[in-house]
């Protein structure tokens, strides 16, 4: 009897001596798996143009109807997207979304993908409707411009760029109109930048 009892005590003593496996969630976070289906991201091409062309196929594919897209024609002088149209408004109701990923499969330009962000919580329901501002990927060109270097764009840092990258008419100014965007290779993971 005593051997068994001592065996049990030894097992718990060993557990006490070993390191806890708890992850202190808000402060330290586990790396998200590369293909995790978290909150959506609207992507840009490398030159800053939005990939979304406002075709609304994602809204049609959505089984729960949580995506709302309002499209508008591109101004040829200052296009927002390389196509004829772009999305003026792009909203996803994150409380209704079931994170199935059908929108990403429907998208013809791979403009929308599921991102790594999983902490979809808020105190206000209204804030859980993600707008284009929330979803649109930040463009590294903006960051470099704000640092005073604007490679290939020649825009001085004194002229502030609208950092609200998702505002409907926030196409990067100063770019030659009609420039063909460099479309990245379709294979491989999209270069998702985790939200700051």
């Amino acid at each position: 009897m005593f051997r068994e009892l001592l065996g049990g005590l030894r097992a718990t003593a060993r557990a006490m001596a070993s390191r806890p496996i708890t992850i202190q969630y808000p402060e330290e976070q586990r790396p998200v798996p590369p293909r995790a289906r978290g909150r959506h991201i609207l992507h840009r091409y490398d030159n800053g143009l939005e990939k979304c062309i406002g075709c609304e196929l994602c809204a049609g594919a959505c089984p729960v109807g949580c995506i709302y897209v309002q499209a508008a024609a591109n101004d040829p002088a200052h296009p927002v997207s390389p196509g004829e149209r772009y999305a003026v408004r792009y909203e996803i109701n994150l409380m209704r979304c079931i994170y199935c990923g059908y929108c990403t499969e429907a998208c013809p330009t791979e403009a929308i993908t599921m991102g790594p962000r999983l902490d979809l919580v808020d105190y206000k329901r209204e804030r859980l409707i993600a707008t284009k501002d929330d979803l649109l990927e930040a463009w590294s060109g903006f960051t470099t411009m704000s640092q005073g270097v604007a490679p290939g764009l020649g825009r001085p840092a004194s002229q502030p760029t609208p950092m609200g990258a998702g505002s409907p008419h926030s196409g990067p100014a100063g770019r030659a109109p009609g420039l063909r965007p460099v479309i990245p290779a379709a294979s491989g993971d999209p270069a998702d930048t985790p939200p700051a």
């Binding site: 049990g8 006490m16 496996i21």
Partner: protein, 364 residues
């Protein structure tokens, strides 16, 4: 055989005349200190218990309130005080109020005769040693609330009062879970009270006194745990049952009884039962320290002996740690097994221990 006659200790006490007000003030201060220390200890034992449980389960445990979770007990206390005092409609109103107070009261009273250091002589010559206390021209400061010759009997009597608290708590709730818990607890506590009593007869026979301070003095050189290993094991095992701790926590078996006798208690009424459980743990571990582990005596001879209270707390703390370690290791016994273990294993072993010890003392 001439040595055996010494087993009745005559205590030569030379007391300086001390004024009554001074005695009262000292008693009051000591009483407040003991209650405060026990309350703090109970509060922090809950934190320690949660930390130990967490580490055994590879978790971290409470660490959000204060540095490293050190203010968690305060947060728990505030929460308990502000909770709604929900109570069942068919309760016995008087007993329902009295039971938690009785639980905490009995737990606190029991600590009165436990000495955490040797009696010292303040401002005079002399001091206390085995069989003699002298203090010429000074004040004799006892490190317990009441240095009485029947200290151990007093503790046994007062801890038995705790059964009333548990039973009245269960009875007055007018709930079947509470009543079942209370019935189990009465049966269990009464059975294990026997085992406890038998286990402590060994040290009593060896020391020849019921005065706890003198019992510690008798252990100078050799602690009773080395003479009474079985007695210590019996006492410590039965202590788990006496404090309703986990291998024997049938009175509050949460799996089958909700929470047993305190199912219907909410807020600070529940808090008092909880508080009483932890103070009882401190008490049984302190008694085990005094009876078997040499009380305030230094663990090894080269350590300073004037650190008495530190040694006492260290020894009692070690036992408390073992109690928690055991709680998070073993599953609960079935009720009939519990009673069988008490009556068919602990009690005969205790009796055998008494017989062997008595023969040993007689022929010594």
């Amino acid at each position: 055989m001439g040595q055996a006659a010494v087993s009745v200790v005559t205590l030569a006490v030379v007391r300086a005349p001390v004024s009554l007000p001074l005695t009262l003030v000292v008693a009051l201060v000591k009483g407040v200190l003991v209650v405060f220390a026990l309350a703090t200890a109970a509060a922090y034992l809950t934190l320690l218990e949660r930390k130990i449980a967490a580490r055994i389960q590879l978790r971290i445990g409470p660490n959000r309130v204060g540095p490293g979770g050190l203010l968690q007990p305060a947060a728990d206390g505030v929460k308990l005080i502000f909770k709604e005092k929900a109570a069942p409609a068919g309760r016995d109103r008087v007993l329902f109020q009295i039971a938690p107070a009785l639980a905490a009261g009995a737990a606190l009273f029991a600590f009165a005769t436990i000495p955490i250091n040797r009696t010292i002589c303040v401002g005079g010559h002399g001091g206390a040693g085995p069989l003699s206390v002298s203090c010429a021209g000074g004040y004799l400061l006892h490190w317990d609330l009441a240095n009485v010759n029947i200290g151990l009997l007093y503790i046994l009597a007062v801890t038995s009062m705790g059964v009333y608290a548990i039973f009245l708590g269960g009875w007055s709730s007018n709930s079947k879970y509470s009543l079942l818990g209370a019935l189990r607890s009465s049966a269990q506590l009464i059975s294990y009270e026997m085992a406890v009593s038998f286990a402590i007869v060994g040290p009593i026979l060896l020391a020849g006194t019921l005065n706890l301070e003198q019992m510690v003095h008798q252990q100078q050189g050799l602690w009773f745990i080395f003479l009474q290993p079985l007695g210590f094991l019996l006492y410590f095992t039965a202590a788990f049952a006496e404090t309703n701790r986990l291998p024997f926590d049938l009175p509050e078996a949460e799996g089958e009884l909700g929470a047993g006798y305190h199912t219907e208690f909410a807020g600070m009424r529940f808090g008092l039962f909880f508080f009483a459980e932890y103070i009882n743990m401190v008490t049984v571990c302190s008694i085990a320290t005094v009876l078997f582990l040499g009380g305030w005596l230094a663990p090894v001879w080269f350590l300073p002996s004037w650190l008495g209270p530190i040694w006492f707390v260290a020894k009692a703390g070690l036992l408390l740690f073992v109690m928690m370690w055991v709680r998070w290791t073993f599953p609960r016994l079935r009720y009939d097994r519990l009673m069988q273990f008490g009556w068919k294993v602990l009690l005969p072993l205790g009796l055998a221990n008494i017989v062997v010890t008595a023969v040993f003392v007689a022929v010594r």
